[in-house]
Symmetry: C2
Subunit: 330 residues, 2 copies
């Protein structure tokens, strides 16, 4: 028997009341050493395990965290969760991992349900945006941290500096002698429809860099069918061109395409990715990319969230360092 026995049964068996059992089980004062020993022994023998539901209900905390993420297609989110879960578990929290599929409605629903379940804290990569959403989040009165898309300066956020990262990438390309950039960021098409803060910040970084490099020209690919657009564009390229992708996934996809009518990378065209996903070590040519420790984001999210739960006022903005990894594709 593992789960069925309750503190009440221990009380009966020991001929005491549940209050006393509680004192014994939780090392509370006001109990004779002998009684405590007797109760603990009985509990041990019966294989007693305290019921979390009962405890949670009376204590007002569930030792449960919620994490909302888009999906598991991009491996960085799996890694992020891995790190998040590690820290959470070290602090005694279990975590609900739920997927929003980048659907605003689904995200809203999930948040509601997680609150109904009284999670002690919530980590999310928001797809919703705007004042109404933010005030909804505040009304939950639950500690929240965000990653990826930012939704409010008043909610702690852990991520990299996207703006600077792209800016540095462009500068790096300029230093390598490139004169034209194909900037690939399909999410931009959703501007105004959903929260695309990450691509937006990166786009700002792009513009800032271009401003400082008058001789550098640029074409932006913002549509889902960016591959098609790219193929159409290729023949017309005269200047020395590099493709800057806002995700390694895009870069890999393009690298694959470029092998059809063999276009040599980096001789004929340069290419650079973003995220430094683990799989890169297996592709050729080795992809130059922007690297950052996604695990550090996951850990930091968990730590920040738990601190908030413990009532500590935390820095609303944690920036994880990034760096360009120079490899063979540029």
């Amino acid at each position: 028997m593992l789960n069925k026995i309750t503190s009440k049964q221990i009380a009966e068996q020991c001929g005491v009341t549940r209050g006393t059992v509680d004192r014994a089980l939780n090392n509370r004062p006001g109990i004779k050493a002998e009684t405590r020993a007797r109760i603990l022994k009985a509990a041990e023998e019966l294989g007693y395990r305290p019921d979390y539901l009962g405890q949670s209900l009376v204590k007002g905390e569930t030792k449960t965290l919620g994490m909302l993420t888009f999906d598991m297609h991009n491996p960085i989110f799996a890694q992020l969760y891995h790190a998040f879960e590690d820290v959470a578990r070290q602090h005694g929290y279990f975590v609900y991992l739920a997927l929003t599929h980048k659907d605003k409605h689904v995200e809203q629903l999930h948040i509601h349900h997680l609150m109904d379940r009284r999670v002690d804290g919530l980590a999310l990569n928001p797809i919703n945006e705007g004042e109404a959403f933010v005030s909804f989040l505040h009304q939950t009165r639950t500690p929240i941290v965000t990653y990826g898309n930012r939704v409010s300066r008043h909610i702690p956020h852990v991520w990299i500096n996207d703006q600077r990262a792209v800016q540095e990438a462009v500068q790096y390309m300029a230093a390598k002698g490139y004169q034209h950039i194909l900037y690939v960021s399909p999410p931009l098409q959703y501007e105004g429809t959903e929260n695309i803060d990450v691509p937006k910040q990166r786009y700002v970084g792009l513009q800032a860099a271009l401003q400082q490099l008058p001789s550098m020209s640029c074409t932006v690919l913002r549509e889902k069918h960016y591959i098609k657009d790219l193929i159409e564009l290729l023949p017309s390229l005269s200047k020395k061109t590099a493709i800057l992708c806002t995700s390694d996934i895009f870069a890999l996809e393009i690298l694959k395409i470029l092998k059809q009518p063999y276009i040599s990378v980096p001789d004929q065209i340069g290419i650079m990715g973003f995220d430094n996903i683990g799989m890169l070590e297996y592709v050729e040519p080795a992809l130059t990319t922007v690297d950052y420790t996604i695990e550090e984001i996951g850990r930091s999210l968990a730590e920040t969230l738990i601190q908030q739960i413990q009532g500590v006022q935390v820095n609303a903005d944690i920036v994880i360092p990034h760096r360009i990894i120079e490899r063979a594709s540029l």
Copy 2:
């Protein structure tokens, strides 16, 4: 205000008792239409949301599932979770995703804790094994499904037929004219230490195939440092050789190594993977591998588990089909 208001408060506000509120909220009979409307309106206005803890405690179900997995390093487990979560959510379940890191002790602890939290069901890829463990699982009196390593014929299990898959792979290699196989399965080293049923089954498949192919010879690499072993072995290979990996990850790792002192694949040596992870479409040469729909496993696990929860007696063994994907590495 989102979370704070209770059925008691609605009762007070409407001048009725909590029993009546419950009847209104849950469409139960025995209530005047007018009263119901009044209560529902009040609930709506106050933004009432039923508390899951209270409900769970009295109903004896939490609408929560637990999923235990090794880690998030191999993308197949992320995909599996993705599919599992989808189905679970469709049925109103949230799921705790916890990592065991292939540590028997951690797995035990997690299971205990998940039971304390009264999950309605549990999906796991066991790293423990043996009678004691199985009877422990039964004592939880909680519906359980396993995937990956099997632990008992009495616990529903969803996976592929590993034995056949490897057998077919070997036959395929023979048909391609290979005369020697390097079989790469590092987990085999843990034989007797932990549950390695998957690699064991595959190994059985290997042996069965070899039995039918007297002219085929084979070397087994079962150590963690299989890369080092492989490198030492390469020069001595005289027969036409293929490397059979029990995971695409191993295959990719080896493919990378073979580029150092350039060894041509498949001209000088063939190589084959297992799992058909998504990233394969980006590597060269395209890797021949064993494919199966990992999402189908995830979905089936969730469905099987939920059926069990609903009291349906389910088939203890669900076998997901697999197939060899012929590509360029063999």
